[in-house]
Assembly symmetry: C2
Homo-oligomer: 189 residues x 2
Amino acid sequence: MARWQPDAPGRLAAAALDLFEENGYENTTVIEIAERAGLTKSTFFRHFPDKREVLFDKGAVSGLLVEGIASAPSAAGPLDAVADALEALGRTFFTADRREFSGRRQAVLNAHSELREREALKRIDLTTSMIEALSRRGAPGLTARVAAKLGSLAWEIAFERWIDTGNSEGFGPLARQALAEVRAAAAVS
Amino acid sequence: MARWQPDAPGRLAAAALDLFEENGYENTTVIEIAERAGLTKSTFFRHFPDKREVLFDKGAVSGLLVEGIASAPSAAGPLDAVADALEALGRTFFTADRREFSGRRQAVLNAHSELREREALKRIDLTTSMIEALSRRGAPGLTARVAAKLGSLAWEIAFERWIDTGNSEGFGPLARQALAEVRAAAAVS
DNA sequence: GCCAGTGATGGGACTTGGTCTCATCGACCC
DNA sequence: GGGTCGATGAGACCAAGTCCCATCACTGGC
């Protein structure tokens, strides 16, 4: 078995996505994923704490979000700061070349509750990070919580539209648009 | 081993909560839980699909929520319908006699990410139910999504305050109060 | 060119969660 | 007292995840 090939985590993630698409999550064994990547079970668990985590990134998004919120103009309101952060995410993370991969990944996540569960936890952790970042900007506790939840919802909506193949717009503009719609909807609820 | 004692699921849940408090979630074995309840591993998995689920109820809450939203006065806005539903929850589920148990359970959930993960999934499923119920009342898609998320946040806040021992108010009034605060915070975001 | 050190990998034993099948027990009914 | 039915027990079995140790590839010094 060839060793020392580059980017073991990336190869494992790609192999996992392929196999999950082909056979489903629960019908895919960690050993099978590792073998397709030319590796072994031991190495898999050295790079990922568990089977689900192979489809998730290691907290890079959180840093981007927090930094985006912190560096927004101090005159900006909470939701505007969130908009800036989502736009930063669009520039760095949700780039055009990752759109196809993101769509495939999301389809697999949606199809398996164990993966949706992990995604839900990640979303909560990100929302908590946003709340803390907004609080550091001086937003009152409840305002920060509401803004973070609305921002999270706008993110979700913008992501759906971004994945949707009929849509060729970038994630940033879609996020701003979604945030505006969410804000309007909140006003009439 | 004595058989045929009543309420096997309840005994299993009580035993699990005790053991999780004593030794932590990951240091507790399903076999230990079953033994403390006077049962076996087989019976445990006959009543619960997995170890985490022993601390969660079987979808009774969802029905209450959906029914509460559906039976709200047709003139009521989305958030008002949610308020009615949360109050119904307070009458049926978050009753005074369950407050201590709820607090213990929540402390255990907060302490273990595997359990927080399951809780996050449940919350998402409940939010989805609320969105559908609001849509059936005629709320536009985005409005329903926003109202459900804000309602979920108000629920969360009201529950925290309800658990807080300094607070002797019922869940219903706390939920109405939290919902009003959330609505106000949304207006200034 | 050889050799030691370092870090990533392989291998396998082991525990636990979870599934499955079959035997067994208790209650209830006739 | 025998038969039926639902809940439980018992044990084999597989996959996830942990742990420890051997092994290989690359690096640098000599």
